[in-house]
């Protein structure tokens, strides 16, 4: 009897927890789901009131027209471009930002505080009008229509360095670094063989943020990569939306299949890098 009286409120609590998690999940996920609902309807039934809540039958037709029929934008080429640009951005950003963050988190050196505050300050500068001088610079460098215009300037960005510093400050024990030095590792070795593996959760988050940012960057890609063959998916979809003259189904199908990989990547990456206390990541 005693056992029952303890577990009953316990069960209520668990029930309430899952109910609120499920409720939140519904609210958060519904628009994402709705993207696919729109993509699966023909134009005639797309905007019905009350709104469609279930898939229509036109998803395959919309995708088919997008990939095989329309010739206005090279959808698959743009898809590949987006993947390549995002992957290159993520890899370089992870490397340089973890490196910078590591220095600020785990070394004592003259000017460290000033450098940290300086890096933070550059984040505080509103970037809105920078596009004009930045564009001028890219033209002067001859980087228009080159992917590097989107990749290189942000490789060692303040936000990434800041994130990695904050992450590594508490989670990498100094003793471990000293032990590695005694073992004869040089500082680069310590960075790549000790810091990188231990910073995995932080790097996982940075990778996701960077990937999403690169994937969804419209204006930068549109201005810097004007050639349709070398540009990204986001730009191609905007162009297609403009030139396809009311073929919403096709455009929304493109939007949906453009976003889907982000969720899959997140699901896999978060499982790998930032899931539970199972990996035995840090020994205090």
């Amino acid at each position: 009897m005693k056992k029952m009286s303890i577990s009953a409120p316990e069960a209520v609590k668990t029930g309430a927890l899952y109910a609120s998690l499920a409720g939140l999940a519904f609210v958060f996920f519904f628009p994402f789901y709705y993207m696919f609902i729109i993509a699966s309807h023909p134009r005639e039934t797309m905007f019905r009131t009350p709104p469609n809540l279930w898939f229509g039958g036109a998803l395959w037709d919309n995708v088919h027209r997008l990939i095989f029929v329309q010739e206005q934008v090279p959808f698959l080429v743009n898809y590949a471009n987006s993947v390549m640009i995002a992957v290159l951005t993520v890899v370089t950003t992870l490397f340089f930002c973890t490196m910078g963050g590591f220095a600020l988190a785990k070394y004592d050196f003259r000017g460290k505080k000033f450098i940290f505050v300086f890096i933070l300050s550059t984040m505080a500068f509103p970037p809105f009008l920078n596009i004009i001088p930045f564009y001028r610079m890219m033209v002067a460098f001859g980087w228009i229509n080159r992917w590097r215009a989107l990749i290189v300037p942000g490789m060692a960005n303040a936000m990434g360095i800041f994130l990695m510093r904050q992450y590594m400050e508490e989670s990498i024990p100094n003793a471990l670094l000293d032990a590695a030095r005694i073992d004869g590792l040089n500082e680069f070795g310590i960075l790549t063989r000790v810091a990188f593996p231990l910073a995995k959760p932080g790097m996982g988050v940075l990778a996701i943020i960077t990937f999403v940012g690169s994937w969804n960057n419209f204006l930068g890609a549109f201005i810097l990569l004007p050639r349709l063959q070398s540009t990204t998916l986001t730009v191609a979809l905007n162009t297609l939306n403009a030139v396809s003259f009311g073929e919403f189904g096709m455009v929304y199908a493109g939007t949906a299949i453009a976003i889907l990989p982000l969720l899959v990547i997140f699901f896999l990456a978060s499982r790998q890098f930032i899931s539970g206390l199972t990996s035995g990541s840090v020994k205090g």
Binding site: R43, E44, F47, R48, T49, P51, Q72, F114, I131, I132, P133, Y135, R136, V139, F218, L219, F222, I223, P226, L228, V235, N238, T239, N241, A242, V243, S244, F245, G246
Partner: protein, 440 residues
């Protein structure tokens, strides 16, 4: 005890600070000395029919859908086999943001750029970002005499430079549903005034039916669509007062009469309202007819077209073509040939009209048989004659660099009048104060 180290540090930081300021100042000097060299002074080369020209053209919305067809047509290819055009297209916002950035940076744009009217003054009154096509070798006046007057005038700066050529226009008319109106004993055809419009609208309103989707739909009509005309001839903003008060009063009257459905523009219910009988009318540009016919309400049979109440002559948008000053001299003449072709040949104008319902700016096409054809969707009435008549009788508006500033202020003000937060008088005074704080 304030240690030597701290003092030293402070000293170093101070020095760092001074150094930083120095750097910035030096940079400012470098930048300001550079200026932005523009190509306007370069002499433009004559068009050479034997040379191959590869041009780029920046367009927005569905323009590429039409121009790509036009420029692939046999008629164009036989005339200009040596001109190839590739497009850079985006939605309205993306296109103009890109163009604004490139022009502000003083860098190369596409050889031909499509523009919305409000950008013309912005790019030109503040500097010489677009070529004056009145100059040789373009000599625009001798080519564009047949383009509709008000639109040609809007492509000019206050100093009379022709920097943009109208390619399509949007004469405003009243779209209405004849059967629904008749059932309610109302008539929307050729109304004499907005008071009459409100009177007829009351008859159709009720049981979930309204006259217009939103009171804001009528807001810009008395102001000729808000495309220019925000300053009077003497340069005073929001003058003459009567014209602007009319707009505010009309919006307030429509909302007070309860004849608008209070729908958010372009929301799902708004789009549906044209097909499911929620609304009976809407004032809009000619292109709206194409949207109704092809996807908004393809199954409705009683949409009709008539003049705006009181035969108001108004225009809701339109497209212009221009050659930015950063275009290299060797491409300019060919770009001009393409612009001339798109704007001044009946073939191009009618094909564009046919493809995307963009109404021709070339008045000679108004005599073409297609303009008096009965349109099946609009009850077999020759509605294009109404569009043409409005186009020919549109008064010219003064265009200025402040138009965009005032236009967005007006957009906010209208919202407050509709919600009843401001009376029309209060709204006008507030708008005037806000405008004055922005322009100088």
């Amino acid at each position: 005890m304030k240690s030597v180290v701290t003092a030293h540090k402070e000293n170093r930081m101070k020095r760092g600070f001074t150094f930083g300021i120095g750097m910035v100042l030096a940079l400012v000097l470098i930048i300001s000395s550079c200026g932005s060299p523009r190509g306007a002074a370069e002499p433009t080369l004559e068009f050479d029919p034997d040379q191959t020209y590869n041009l780029t053209m920046g367009t927005f919305g569905d323009l590429e859908a039409a121009y790509s067809v036009v420029l692939r047509s046999d008629h164009f290819r036989s005339r200009f086999p040596n001109i190839n055009v590739t497009f850079q297209s985006a939605d309205f916002g993306g296109h103009h943001d890109r163009l604004t950035t490139q022009i502000a940076a003083g860098e190369r744009t596409n050889d031909i750029e499509a523009l919305e009217v409000a950008f013309i003054a912005l790019f030109v009154e503040q500097g010489d970002a677009l070529l004056d096509l009145n100059q040789p070798p373009f000599n625009a006046p001798s080519h564009i005499a047949d383009l509709v007057d008000f639109a040609v005038a809007q492509g000019q700066t206050r100093a009379g430079e022709q920097v943009a050529i109208p390619v399509d226009i949007a004469p405003a008319v009243l779209f209405f549903r004849e059967n629904l109106a008749r059932e309610a004993g109302a008539n929307f055809r050729d109304l004499g005034s907005w008071e009459e419009f409100i009177r007829e609208s009351r008859k159709v309103t009720g049981n979930g039916r309204f006259a217009v989707p939103n009171a804001s739909d009528v807001a810009l009509i008395p102001l000729a669509g808000g495309k220019g005309g925000w300053l009077d001839a003497a340069g005073n903003a929001l003058e003459p007062r009567g014209k602007f008060m009319e707009s505010l009063n009309l919006v307030a009257a429509v909302r007070d009469a309860g004849i608008d459905a209070d729908l958010n523009a372009w929301s799902g219910p708004w789009i549906e309202s044209f097909a499911n009988g929620t609304v009976v009318s809407i004032p809009n540009g000619a292109w709206w007819g194409g949207a109704l016919r092809t996807w908004v309400a393809p199954d409705v049979t009683d949409w009709r077209v008539t003049y705006l109440p009181g035969r108001a002559m108004s225009s809701l948008g339109g497209t212009y073509l221009s050659i930015p000053a950063s275009v290299p001299a060797e491409n300019r003449a060919a770009a001009w040939e393409v612009i001339k072709y798109l704007t001044t040949t009946a073939e191009a104008q009618l094909l564009t009209f046919d493809t995307i319902d963009a109404f021709p700016a070339l008045t000679t096409t108004y005599d073409d048989p297609v303009m008096s054809e009965p349109i099946p969707y609009f009850g077999n009435e020759p509605v294009r004659q109404i569009f043409a008549d409005v186009a020919l009788n549109m008064p010219s508006q003064i265009v200025s660099e402040y138009d965009r500033t005032i236009e967005s202020i007006w957009g906010s003000i209208i919202g407050q009048v509709i919600e009843g937060d401001l009376t029309p008088e209060q709204a006008y005074d507030l708008a005037l104060r806000q405008v004055r704080s922005q322009i100088d």
